[in-house]
């Protein structure tokens, strides 16, 4: 494949043609901030944080959608860019609850990270804020719309598993835009399968894994990556250890051909956690507590194994 040579912040590099400036920068070790962009998802350029300056053009360009070309000269941290990034972050914080103290996402929240990096803080004002609307209907996921920054990552990742998932969507417009499940149902009554793809990609605390809440915070945990052995896809999960004890499991971002599912997650919990929480099953749009045997569909296997293992049967 053809290569193109460009300059980023004064450093010259060659990348395969078709590479975005965002990825080219990353390969140089230059991190451009982005909230909506993720390598597993289609590019939407919605958060506008990854804007860069390209020599010869007054118009700023989003590096996530800008293809590198020969001779292109890019700057990623000019005073103008910094000013705009601060303004954009401030706009996000102005609509956001000042809740980092107790937010489960603190420590791994991208909004928090960039606010820190660019020195932007919460402030008092009389204007609108995103209304508090929390969906607690699922035992696996907490959806807190007041913290949502509408990056659309959840919508895009849920959409990638065609037919079976495609639960989440944008609704409303302008400032009243929201993420909804099906036609504004709860996660429980919607067709959500609790795979937690959306949770794993939400950059803020708007979609949280409910089974980790209150158990451990990111900075006090030791995290080990485990591969799910429940099926051939081999998705990855983080197992959180606190004081040497495995306390929680969290889905890692889905990878190509690794879709994530609830069964795999529960299997991972059962394998690694000392005392996993009671599992739940969704039956006819209602979550009900279930036994591990039921939720994992093991009854027939166990019966069969018991039958085969019974001493009288041995020859």
């Amino acid at each position: 494949m053809k290569n193109v040579t460009l300059t980023i912040n004064g450093k010259t590099l060659s990348v395969p043609s078709g590479t975005t400036v965002f990825d080219a920068a990353r390969s140089l070790g230059v991190e451009i901030p982005a909230l909506c962009h993720h390598e597993s998802l289609p590019v939407v350029s919605a958060c506008r944080l990854c804007l860069v300056e390209v020599e010869g053009s007054r118009k700023l360009q989003t590096s996530c959608s800008l293809l590198a070309t020969d001779g292109m000269k890019v700057q990623t941290e000019t005073p103008r860019l910094i000013k705009y990034r601060r303004a954009i972050l401030q706009l996000l914080l102005d609509s956001h609850p000042n809740d980092c103290l107790t937010c489960q996402k603190a420590g791994e929240c991208l909004l928090q990270k960039y606010a820190y990096q660019y020195g932007v803080t919460f402030r008092e004002h009389d204007g609108a804020r995103r209304p508090a609307q929390t969906d607690l209907s699922s035992p696996y996921i907490v959806k807190d719309d007041s913290k949502c920054i509408l990056c659309g990552r959840c919508v895009r990742t849920c959409d990638q598993v065609e037919k079976e998932r495609q639960v989440l969507a944008f609704a409303g417009r302008g400032y009243a835009t929201r993420i909804v499940a099906d036609d504004d149902k709860t996660l429980e009554t919607s067709k959500c399968v609790s795979c937690n793809r959306c949770v794993s990609l939400c950059p803020v605390g708007a979609l949280l894994d409910r089974r980790i809440m209150g158990k451990v915070r990111p900075w006090e945990a030791e995290v080990r990556v485990k591969e799910c052995r429940s099926c051939d896809y081999g998705c990855h999960f983080d197992v959180y250890y606190k004081d040497g004890k495995a306390v929680a499991v969290k889905a890692r971002a889905p990878e190509p051909g690794r879709p994530l599912c609830l069964r795999g997650r529960l299997m991972t919990e059962l394998l690694w956690l000392e005392r996993p929480d009671t599992p739940w099953r969704k039956i006819g749009g209602k979550f009900v507590k279930a036994s591990w045997v039921k939720v994992l569909g093991l009854q027939r296997l166990i019966d069969k194994m018991e039958l085969l293992d019974a001493p009288g049967d041995r020859q």
């Binding site: 919605a46 659309g152 400032y175």
Partner: protein
């Protein structure tokens, strides 16, 4: 061979059909008042039309839009026939490029350049889209063309299809335009019947079809990429452009999207020749532009003039100045996200470049005339209110930033403005303009930025003195005692802040600086002498 009414029209018999249709049209228009023969065709007469030059609207109000023969009678489909007979697609592209026809949907992008890009990509499927979403409130340029001369748009699209190698076109039209939809349906059906659309157009090898798609009425769906999302059945949100749509547009295929007025220009440019077209308008922007002039003006309506006509000429010469004997103060061009131009700049010629230089845009051709009773701060608030509602919510600066700007403007027009608010408005305006994803956000702040620039003193009066110089912002009105006062002292007695003074039987005076605007005096006055102004 004698052709009959319902026969297929072909390259060979077009002339014969035209001549026969012309005789019929001449017969029908004979003695019709308001229409006169002109330059081998017809024109509308009367003072409102005298100063106009109707190229796009050449047939509107003259021909019967539901009868393709009347369109043919005045030269319709002869450009298409000529190309199919003698021109290769490359020549069409070159001529369109030479004409420098700039897109009439707002951005003024050169049509030929767009077509050339789509032509360059050698793939089996390409599309032509006509953008007939016309979401600007109060604008009806495109609607008039669709209702009055639908075949000019169909012919323009077919020519584009031939030039770039597309066999399929869509017209995305607002569902709120039922008559336009009806006329288009009729025109498409009639064009099919006569061999002007569909398989083997005019008996040639070229095939091209057109389907209608009805828009949902969201303003942002007029944005090219949001429109394509909508045709694809998705939520109408603008896309980020990794590639131009003329490279990867509808369903990822090379797609030409042009405005109704742009397409309506195409047949006549090719029929009369590019040199003829270049002789109209300016070098920067050849041709004419249709404007929809509304607001506080004497003669509101559709106006088509050569590019480069001054605002003065349009507002006073054709529009007849302000209505009700008032003073014109400003004109806002370019729809809800255009800039407000003060009267002092009315000698500016109207073309893409000149308008941009004075902080406004051509947009789709809306012109709102404002008089001395219009408060420019409130005008800015009004337009922003529209964009806030219409923002699709996808990107942060537009979704969040316009909302904050609107909150600031509401605060200022309510007399609650503070030191620093104007600076905050400017800064937000800059951020939203420079960082938004699509044209809606990128231009949303224009009404605010332009009024802050040209009418800053009005903003300052609101913020510092809590006064609205145009006496328009209700909450900034002051109580005032007129000469009807009989000096009964009732008002002074009820005033809670004791700011009314005056002797018995003499006219009383309110000290506006201490007045708390409770309205008690007005309620107490027996003669109705106390007013708000």
């Amino acid at each position: 061979m004698i052709t009959t009414e319902r026969d297929l029209i072909t390259i060979e018999n077009l002339r014969e059909v035209r001549e026969r249709a012309r005789v019929k049209l001449d017969g029908r228009l004979k003695g019709v008042s308001g229409i006169a023969a002109w330059e081998g065709g017809y024109k509308l007469t009367g003072p409102f039309y005298e100063k106009q030059q109707r190229v796009v609207l050449r047939n509107c109000g003259i021909i019967d839009p539901e009868n393709v023969e009347e369109y043919v009678a005045l030269g319709g489909y002869s450009a298409l026939a000529m190309l199919l007979k003698d021109w290769d697609p490359k020549r069409v592209i070159d001529e369109m490029t030479r004409s420098n026809l700039r897109g009439r949907g707002g951005a003024g992008f050169p049509t030929g350049r767009k077509w050339a890009e789509a032509y360059r990509h050698d793939v089996p499927q390409k599309y032509i889209i006509c953008n007939a979403d016309e979401g600007d409130p109060g604008a009806f340029m495109d609607r008039s063309v669709l209702e009055g001369d639908p075949h000019s748009v169909l012919e323009g699209m077919a020519i584009a299809g031939y030039a770039v190698g597309a066999d399929m076109g869509f017209i995305y039209v607002r569902a709120e335009y039922p008559l336009a939809v009806e006329r288009l349906r009729t025109a498409i059906a009639e064009a099919h019947e006569r061999g002007l659309l569909g398989e083997r157009i005019l008996g040639s090898d070229f095939s091209f079809d057109i389907e209608l798609r009805l828009g949902s009425g969201a303003f942002v769906c007029g944005e090219g990429t949001a429109l394509m999302e909508s045709i694809e059945g998705k939520r109408g949100m603008p896309r980020t452009k990794v590639y131009r749509t003329s490279h990867r547009g509808l369903w990822d295929c090379p797609t030409i999207i042009n405005n109704v007025e742009t397409f309506a220009n195409v047949p006549v440019i090719l029929e009369k020749g590019v040199d003829w077209f270049l002789g109209i308008g300016t070098e920067d922007s050849p041709g004419t532009k249709v404007f929809c002039i509304v607001g506080k003006v004497n003669n509101a309506g559709l106006v088509e003039v050569p590019m480069g006509t001054t605002i003065n000429e349009i507002v006073y010469g054709i529009g007849g100045g302000a209505a009700d004997g008032r003073e014109v103060k400003a004109v806002q061009t370019g729809g809800p996200s255009g800039g407000c131009i003060p009267k002092s700049l009315f000698d500016t010629p109207v073309d893409f470049g000149s308008l941009a230089r004075i902080g406004s845009i051509m947009g789709s051709g809306g012109m709102v005339v404002m008089d001395d009773t219009d408060c420019m701060v409130d005008i800015a608030r009004f337009f922003l209110d529209f964009t806030v509602d219409e923002s699709c919510g996808k990107c942060v600066p537009c979704r969040e930033g316009t909302k904050r700007m609107l909150e600031l403007l509401e605060k200022i027009t309510k007399g609650k403005g503070e030191e620093g608010d104007l600076e905050a408005l400017s800064e937000l305006g800059e951020v939203i303009t420079s960082t938004s994803l699509c044209g809606l956000g990128q231009t949303a702040a224009t009404p605010v930025i332009s009024t802050l620039h040209y009418f800053r003193s009005e903003y300052e009066a609101h913020v510092r003195d809590k006064k609205c110089p145009a006496h328009s912002c209700k909450e900034l009105l002051e109580y005032f005692i007129t000469e009807k006062c009989i000096g009964c002292t009732k008002c002074a007695r009820v005033c809670p802040s004791a700011c009314i003074s005056g002797k018995v039987k003499e006219r009383h005076v309110i000290d506006a600086s201490r007045c708390v605007k409770c309205g008690a005096c007005q309620a107490a006055c027996p003669t109705g002498a106390i007013i708000k102004q």
